[in-house]
Symmetry: C2
Subunit: 584 residues, 2 copies
Amino acid sequence: MIARLRKFIPVLDWGRTYNAAAFSNDLVAAVIVTIMLIPQSLAYALLAGLPPEAGIYASIVPIILYAIFGTSRALAVGPVAVVSLLTASAVGQVAEQGTAGYAVAALTLALLSGGFLLTLGILRLGFLANFLSHPVIAGFITASGILIACSQLKHILGVEAGGHTLPEMIGSLVTHLGETNLITLAIGAGAIAFLFWVRKGLKPLLRSLGCGPKLSDLITKAGPVAAVVLTTLITWAFVLSSQGVSIVGEVPQSLPPLTMPGLSPGLIADLAIPAVLISIIGFVESVSVAQTLAAKKRQHIDPDQELIGLGAANLGAAFTGGYPVTGGFARSVVNFDAGAETPAAGAYTAVGLAIAAVALTPLVYFLPKATLAATIIVAVLSLVDLSILKKTWGYSKSDFSAVAATIVLTLLLGVEIGVATGVAISVLLHLYKTSRPHVAEIGLVPGTQHFRNINRHDVETDPTVLMLRVDESLYFANARFLETLILERVTEGCAIRNVVLMFSAVNAVDYSALESLEAINERLTDMNVGFHLSEVKGPVMDRLQTSHLLQHLNGRVFLSQYDAWVAVSGRPVEPVGRAMAAAC
Amino acid sequence: MIARLRKFIPVLDWGRTYNAAAFSNDLVAAVIVTIMLIPQSLAYALLAGLPPEAGIYASIVPIILYAIFGTSRALAVGPVAVVSLLTASAVGQVAEQGTAGYAVAALTLALLSGGFLLTLGILRLGFLANFLSHPVIAGFITASGILIACSQLKHILGVEAGGHTLPEMIGSLVTHLGETNLITLAIGAGAIAFLFWVRKGLKPLLRSLGCGPKLSDLITKAGPVAAVVLTTLITWAFVLSSQGVSIVGEVPQSLPPLTMPGLSPGLIADLAIPAVLISIIGFVESVSVAQTLAAKKRQHIDPDQELIGLGAANLGAAFTGGYPVTGGFARSVVNFDAGAETPAAGAYTAVGLAIAAVALTPLVYFLPKATLAATIIVAVLSLVDLSILKKTWGYSKSDFSAVAATIVLTLLLGVEIGVATGVAISVLLHLYKTSRPHVAEIGLVPGTQHFRNINRHDVETDPTVLMLRVDESLYFANARFLETLILERVTEGCAIRNVVLMFSAVNAVDYSALESLEAINERLTDMNVGFHLSEVKGPVMDRLQTSHLLQHLNGRVFLSQYDAWVAVSGRPVEPVGRAMAAAC
């Protein structure tokens, strides 16, 4: 009972052995992560189309709930770029940015997403996330990165522009290009240049000045904080807000408020599909970050429990003024590198952010939105990885098609259609590939009991025996293929008196395939041709025995292909002892 | 060039060797089929909601076009029950039965269906039909049989009723039960009883009277013609049409007219999905009939060319007053049994039907619709086969779920939703099954070089080596499963120093799985555990060599599992000579 409870509430497990050393490590990590999260949270809220405080609120209660229910020791939960983009896209379809309805819809999205994740976790349905193939995810993340960067250009230029797809965004930006605010552009472009330099140039500099690799890394990660402080000071000193520079402005000084998501059936119906999409994409991202970090310390991540942890975090966000959250890559890596040992580090980060929400928000009054946009742009451009196109092109054209379609459709038609089409294409291509399985005609390697592809090897064959090795499980998509193939071969090769199917690579036979095998048997019987199987695996044989196939089979089931050859070929056979054992 | 043309126009092939003997056989078959087709064509037109002549028109030009382009020697193309039901369901959604718009929409449906089939055939995409699994087809045909029988009860009762789903039909029948015309009911019920007797009782009787099996069969098949003649005479003699008995009435005496399908974009959009559905279901049915008959004479069917033949037949129907057609089971079997040798038999049937359309149509003026309904009911009840539920239940629960869902949803929500859900369920269940592949932990069978499941056999193992045999191709749906499984095993078994994956049953590795293998390699490297592969098949190895996996692999790729065991296990190894060859 206790063990069961511990499985569902991991804090009961690691909490028992918590000590002073872990506390001190966790606290240090929390301070570092808090400093990094303040600008990031504000920026992602801007990306999601929400007021800046929503980003901070979305980082407080969710982090604590994840610390209780999650299994990763280092994962940092909160707003992330891709989920913020998806939020903007989904909520933008039901409400106008800046209205109260928009914020309420974002809460509803978090509620639905949390409920969906929690349900999947309780039903242990985490495997559903597997239907998102790696190429589709990679393509989607890349396209999202491009979309996000483009969506922020309006803040860099200081113009009002919109759009949810690349052509819309570019069109809108071009239309408003004349209204560019040059001071805003200077701040934004300066911040981008500074942040890129911090990323590429600062670390080598620090290392050459004798800093350790970890410290250099941490200082580099503080780049956005420096940009925020610098540009805020400049804007305040020169009162640039009166020159048309957009600033964050007043942010309420408050702990996360208690909020109520919208629950109207219409709103729920409109947001249900986007919520499922956000949940699955967030989950996949989060688990892959968590597994990467856990492996480094030989720790274990339970994906189904992760669903519960992320579900709880999103429900928390829904009732405390946040929006959908998940485990973020950058923040989790910082947390890990800074030495976080337990999820308690997350809880201390939450306390740090709560203090910030109450005490520090007046300090960001003069923070230019262009700076936040710059931090987003620099962060997301690291997500853009077009090399996936080259890699998949070299490895497999069908994976390439899935990536290319996902990228193109996400950019042109938006995130939801892009990812949905990507999933549909992967599934169809997989079915297509397995619908025409590799079937090798085989012959005996002389002097052995081995059988090999007649096209690749010098082997003995017998014109009266057709021996085929099927290199795929048999199921509905390829059942008819096999039927057609065998009938074609037999009608062409008039000498054929026996057909032997070697089942060594057949891991399963579904009911459609069973019926096809029965049809092959009937048709070969009509043609007066024997039909035999060989090397059928244990589990497949168990299942075939519950059917009538084996009773009606006009031939036999042989333990080994060699046994079959000895029995049906007209060739003289040397006495080579007992035939090979079956394959399983 | 000629050979290529012959492939696309099979008549050029068989036509060259056509002789007097074949002509006489074909002619006899054509006469028999024509007699059988007249009532059947009228009945199916009624089922499709069209005037009776549409059924005859749909049998003339399409048969000729199929004879030119199709590959089956015995297939008889024309209206069939399931496609007629689908037509009624699809066209009923865009037009009112009995209106001119209804007939035009049916032409459009045939046009779209013909165009779709032809496109698939030219692009050689016949494999798409494979996504309809046998259980889904069986469930759909059974549910359609029930729906069709129910839809005809109104004609037996002589009432006006409607509905496209079982609850709608039953509700409508119950509401109108009071209006039952007793004379109609007597004719209809009598015809049903007569036809059932012909089916079950007449054949044994004829056999016991000394008739040969083929002749008995043919006489039995003429049952509907007898019913038509008898009830027409009775209705004419007693002027029952004045007693409220619905009769076929005036049928134009004409050859098939030249007709123009409706081409408005709205109509095409509404009928596109149903047309795809009708095409695929018709194609699957037709090919399976054609293959069954061809196998009996060791002849060959080319599914892609069949698409072209059926596509041409449907285009023909669209421009000559018909509606969607396909190869029918009953008529094709009669054609085959009557001795048809070439598709020319079909052409002669077309001539016979053309004569009937011009000369015989006045004779069916007094034919009661109840008789036609009775022939439909008796014909389709043979399609209803609920034993598929029992068979799949015994063989595989997931196939059972697909059948059950298809039957229930087709009956309750209609044919289109039923079949679409069935397909979706089969695909999802297939992905689900392959997403949790069978992975066996294996050990060495003592004294051999064979490795077997440690749970099924007494084998040698080594606590420092984890050896897993993966019994499934690796692709996106199961890539993460394997990743999680291996990390879980390794974090639990602290002694593990090496992991060997035996790939003997892995027929493919897609890009997602490749990335998972790379991730497993990285994580095992982080844990200081060696990662090795063994018995990788040729095509899989070829592909892996185009990636970076093998360069980064912290362990080795072994030709055989035994080589791997010798290299990484700490156990003493007896000298047993050269290790087994790789699996491919």
